[in-house]
Symmetry: C2
Subunit: 143 residues, 2 copies
DNA sequence: CTCTATGCAAAGCTTTTGCACGTTA
DNA sequence: TAACGTGCAAAAGCTTTGCATAGAG
């Protein structure tokens, strides 16, 4: 099933509608590589539909997040980033504090940690929303 | 060496000065249990010195962070939290996405993960700035 | 006595909201 | 044709900044 169909279906379940604006936002996210900010989505979308408002972007991103079609990522700046995951597993992101580049970590590395946290503190982490700050190899070599 | 002395020394290195305002902010942080927002610091500080401005709080928190005397924590709301670490090791925080409570994780749990990330991606994480989102035990039982 | 720090007021930035008008199913 | 969605404008919330004055060393 295509992403758009999935979106339409989920919207339908809640009595909501698939509009051209919602389609466009999803379309843009679909063609992005890696996480993008709401502002970046706006920029792309704006070129195709100059009328489309930022508020519509935010409202659409909220829905897509709710449906698990995109994941929201915390960054070190003040804004959120969004990544289209489709039917893939959500994954953990690492953000270089120097260059801002975002890396993706192997999910397996977190399995043991997850079990320990659950056992010790009863806390169940949601890795999909997590960002690990740090320094990437390139920036480290430059320093 | 006391925190204040450490602060004064670090300030001195940069030709900066230890003012009564900076002392007060550090003092307040020192007597807090767990992480507090800039606004919470402001509230406490305000009772002792009603003149002291928010901008001074932010400027001071930046310095303290730079010196490693406090660590800044991302939360699930849009604001930052700060925790006095003094000479202790910085630690990883977990934030419950439902009740907003902040937990502290055992640093040992992260050692293996750290090695793997460094080996696989050349990425060196800065745990002191990391926050793990998730659901705490209490909220889970209520659901 | 010099250079830094502060308070004040205003602006910045991302995100949210209220409302009248369009549009979808 | 009844909800629902959109654009617009304004506001909200946290944080930053410019500038004149006050204060530390």
């Amino acid at each position: 099933m295509s992403c758009e169909q999935l979106f339409r279906e989920q919207l339908g379940k809640k009595g909501l509608r698939l509009t051209s604006q919602r389609k466009l936002v999803l379309e843009i996210l679909h063609h992005q590589e890696g996480p993008v900010s709401a502002e970046m989505v706006y920029d792309s979308v704006h070129q195709l539909d100059p009328q489309l408002d930022r508020s519509t972007i935010y409202r659409t991103l909220d829905l897509l997040k709710e449906f698990g079609i995109v994941q929201q990522i915390q960054s070190n700046d003040r804004s959120s980033y969004y990544e289209h995951t489709g039917t893939d597993q959500p994954h953990v992101h690492m953000v270089c504090q120097k260059c801002g580049k975002i890396f993706i970590a192997d999910q397996k590395l977190f399995e043991k940690l997850q079990k320990s946290l659950e056992k010790q503190l009863g806390f169940i982490p949601d890795w999909s929303q997590m960002t690990i700050p740090g320094i990437c190899e390139t920036c480290r070599q430059q320093a």
